[in-house]
């Protein structure tokens, strides 16, 4: 009798020991998998940075070095002048800042109208706006190209800013946020005789600041990364944007290329994005994941 009990206890102990080792193994493989994937994800960044610091001779060594023997910061200076990055940064900043500010004003006003005001056809119109989000942007580009040519906007800052000021997605995002603010606040403000714009500025905007910051970052990143439209309509020296400039300055991608300088230019173009990411990660991730809710 007592024998069978001890046998059973032993079994249970064995089972739990086996489970323990199993758990440890699972943990081990989970971490191993994650760290391996993280290294794969990080490798291109690492390779970009160390390549940008090598001499050309070192880059072309048959056996690659994983840390530069001689650190060449001069590659960065060379990249800066080769691609005339100064002018490109300037152009991109102007387009980014102006289009973000104007876009925010338009988005706030429209979102307010859709969230707080009652007017005929509001829901139909909002539905129609959302429906346009389904249409691929290329479909608009064909006609917009003709429109801006007729307006005489080719090779100006205007052409890079105005066609993309309204984003249905941002209006949608902000409207959702505005709707969460209780209507009583608005009515109370009305009773106090506060004007709409003052109410917007003093109550609505501060309360939805996180969304507005997310929109700002996404819009700025959009300008920084835009390529197709700027190449079509403003590919002159004075208005060229950063992505185009980078691609134009280094047309060769395969063959015998001065990679250290090219990688230095790539690192310089990527750096602002990383800085924004480091300091404002929370807002970027919130903005991007909230776009996930709309499905």
């Amino acid at each position: 009798m007592s024998d069978t009990i001890t046998m059973k206890e032993k079994n249970i102990q064995q089972v739990s020991a086996a489970q323990k080792t199993m758990q440890i193994l699972v943990k081990f493989f989970t971490y191993a998998f994650l760290i391996l994937m993280a290294l794969i994800v990080l490798f291109p960044f690492y390779w970009m940075i160390i390549s940008s610091l090598k001499t050309l001779a070192e880059y072309r060594l048959n056996v690659p070095t994983f840390f530069p023997q001689q650190i060449m910061f001069s590659n960065y200076a060379e990249a800066f002048t080769t691609a005339s990055l100064g002018q490109l940064f300037y152009n991109t900043m102007i387009v980014g800042v102006v289009s973000t500010l104007l876009s925010l004003v338009i988005t706030v006003l429209s979102a307010f109208a859709f969230a707080r005001l009652e007017f005929k056809g509001r829901d139909t119109m909002f539905g129609l706006l959302l429906a346009t989000m389904m249409i691929p942007g290329e479909l608009f580009t064909i006609t917009n190209y003709a429109t801006v040519t007729q307006l005489g906007w080719m090779n100006t800052y205007r052409v890079l800013i105005i066609p993309f000021l309204v984003s249905v997605f941002y209006i949608y995002l902000l409207r959702q946020n505005f709707m969460q603010i209780p209507n009583e606040l608005y009515l109370a403000a009305k009773v106090d005789g506060t004007s709409d714009l003052k109410y917007l500025w003093k109550v609505m905007v501060p309360l939805s600041l996180p969304t507005l910051i997310s929109i700002t970052i996404l819009k700025m990143m959009g300008s920084w990364n835009s390529y197709i439209w700027p190449r079509l309509v403003a590919n002159d020296e004075a208005h060229r944007m950063i992505t185009n400039g980078l691609r134009n300055a280094f047309t060769e991608t395969s063959g015998d290329v001065n990679y250290p300088v090219q990688m230095a230019a790539v690192a310089l173009v990527s750096a602002p994005l990383f800085l924004v990411f480091v300091f404002l990660r929370k807002y970027i991730m919130a903005g991007v994941s909230r776009s996930g809710i709309k499905g």
Binding site: Y31, L34, F45, A113, L117, T147, Y227, S254, V288
Partner: protein, 314 residues
């Protein structure tokens, strides 16, 4: 009274958005349909006063065009390879991330990093990694200086180097490089959405499974995947929509030639075809192609929705 005041105020606030949308969104939709239905419509000839006949010629021409079939093929191959691979990989990473505590935040940040990059710029880094330095022309006296870091790794493990993107590289090798790059680019968004979904699953389901002694694999297939299915469906749909619009990542790696030096345009996509038609002033053809792209995206979305309705558990 208040009502009518609100009416005109609303329209006033909406005015800037409406004006811009009419010019840059609504008019283009109408105009694209119009141009696609005018035979051989060309903007240049139209301003010169040419008249165009009404008909479906543009669509027929686009579909019969060999370049277009190549573009469609490339787009489909890239789409059907990258969407499943990136979704499965993202699911595995998200589940793994969700099961750990130590290092979770740090790893999550690393996995999100590719999202905040410029796809042309990082494409150039990938090109550098896959490039064989010194190989331009595929002639015998070419001077290979280094096989590139990816080939170095392959050689380290005893393989022979592969011509990935240089002169004379194969179509399969090109596609492989594109798949690696597109998956690398697609992971962050998918991981973010799926991890968000996982963290929203009620812990009680897992507790119950633990009490019942349910094996891990069953927990994964019977609890995690069904409860995550809305997020999975969303990630797959946006993946397909993005995949059918693939263009800049190819420019990042191959440049405007859209292929290795000896086979320009070999990797061209639907979007690339639209822009090529636009720059050769064939707006009719470009419009027809854009509408076909829209139709494909619409059909894929509808199919996905239909499948989701049957499979997705909310």
């Amino acid at each position: 009274m208040v009502d009518s005041k609100q009416q005109w105020k609303a329209w006033l606030y909406l005015a800037p958005a409406i004006v811009l949308l009419l010019v840059f969104t609504v008019w283009p939709i109408i105009n694209t349909v119009r141009m696609s239905l005018l035979e051989n419509y060309s903007g240049l000839q139209a301003t010169a006063g040419a008249q165009f006949q009404f008909g479906l010629g543009n669509f027929l021409k686009v579909v019969r065009y060999r370049q277009f079939t190549q573009c469609l093929k490339n787009t489909c191959i890239l789409c059907f390879l990258t969407v499943p691979i990136s979704t499965i990989l993202a699911l595995l990473i998200a589940v793994a991330l969700n099961s750990i505590k130590f290092l979770q935040k740090g790893l999550q940040t690393i996995f999100f990093l590719p999202y905040v990059t410029n796809s042309i710029a990082i494409g150039m880094v990938f090109a550098a990694m896959f490039n064989i330095v010194g190989s331009f022309y595929g002639t015998e006296n070419e001077l290979i200086v280094t096989a590139g870091i990816i080939n170095n790794v392959i050689e380290f493990f005893g393989g022979t180097h592969i011509n990935w993107i240089n002169y004379g590289s194969s179509y399969a090798a090109n596609i492989f490089v594109m798949v690696v790059y597109i998956v690398w680019n697609a992971l962050p968004f998918k991981i973010l959405v799926l991890l968000g979904g996982l963290q929203g699953i009620n812990k009680q389901y897992y507790e119950a499974a633990k009490v019942d002694g349910t094996p891990r694999r069953r927990v994964f297939t019977k609890i995690t995947v069904p409860l995550l299915s809305p997020m999975l469906a969303y990630v797959v749909i946006t993946g397909f929509i993005g995949g059918f619009k693939e263009y800049t990542s190819i420019v990042g790696i191959f440049g405007e030639t859209m292929g290795p030096p000896d086979a320009a345009k070999r990797l061209n996509t639907m979007v690339g075809f639209i822009y090529d038609s636009l720059s050769s002033n064939s707006q009719g053809r470009a419009s027809a192609a854009a509408l076909i792209l829209f139709a494909i995206i619409l059909v894929v979305t509808l199919i996905n929705n239909q499948v989701s309705k049957k499979r997705v558990h909310y």
